[in-house]
């Protein structure tokens, strides 16, 4: 990963690469991305929401 990728301009210039890329883009059959393993993920909107999930200490 590089911070430059946020600001840089990208172009596929090579003929072979451009053809292969567009072929992949146009294909509908590619569905190879594995779904995320079912985990307890949650997108939250505030720090309080996270803190509410703090496990409670067990009573002695």
């Amino acid at each position: 990963m590089a911070t430059s990728s946020l600001t840089a301009n990208f172009a596929i210039r090579d003929e072979k690469e451009a053809k292969a890329f567009i072929s992949a883009l146009l294909s509908d059959s590619r569905s190879m991305v594995p779904p995320a393993r079912k985990r307890n993920w949650k997108l939250v909107g505030s720090v309080k929401e996270i803190e509410r999930r703090r496990p409670r200490a067990r009573a002695k």
Partner: protein
């Protein structure tokens, strides 16, 4: 099973204040794997989140807002493909899908993509092993699918350092494919680009 919470950096800053947010994230470490990624979290992530040019997300666990397990940054990124390089059939099929930009030099297809600009686990805390890179990528792609379902798009791309073949192999195992698309900020020698196509 641990519960993981993901919060936008901008929401985190709103709730705890920027100084406190910087303090809590200052110990984030990739274990020497990539200093630039650590540096980005200390500086660029705050600026870019403020300007909404990219959005950084923090991964927390079990209600702990002091230890960030991982972070990632997403952005919308356009790129171009040279029109002249395509077959006649591809040009025909692309008519409805992408706009042709005509500059003085040449015709290009402008294509939008979702960029995973940063992605890092925090090796400085014991809980760093609570998530795997694969789970993190899986969650990010699920999140992008949600955005895709709202606004469209199917291309996700990221850059990796070519001198880290293990990283390339890891992304390949997560359905990313390599295409050479050097940026104007790199001579093409140090960074590689990988794509995945969300059809499902």
């Amino acid at each position: 099973m641990s519960e993981l919470q993901i919060i936008k950096l901008s929401d985190f800053v709103r709730d705890v204040g920027e100084d406190e947010a910087r303090k809590r994230l200052s110990s984030f470490s990739c274990g020497g794997l990539n200093g630039e990624v650590e540096q980005y979290l200390c500086d660029g992530a705050f600026r870019h989140s403020r300007k909404k040019t990219s959005i950084t997300y923090l991964v927390m666990a079990n209600g702990d807002t002091h230890n960030c397990l991982a972070y990632y940054t997403l952005a919308v990124k356009p790129f171009s493909v040279k029109f002249s390089r395509l077959t006649a059939r591809q040009k025909n099929e692309m008519k409805d899908l992408a706009r042709i930009n005509i500059s003085k030099e040449e015709k290009n297809y402008g294509i939008s993509s979702y960029l995973i600009a940063q992605l890092a686990k925090n090796y400085a805390i014991a809980g760093g092993n609570m998530i795997s890179g694969r789970d993190l990528i899986g969650f990010i792609l699920d999140q992008i699918r949600g955005i895709r379902d709202q606004v469209g798009g199917k291309v996700v791309f990221l850059e990796y350092e070519k001198n880290k073949p293990k990283l390339r192999d890891f992304y390949k195992s997560c359905a990313f494919e390599e295409f050479k698309m050097p940026s104007d900020a790199d001579d093409g020698s140090s960074l590689g680009q990988m794509f995945c196509f969300l059809n499902d």
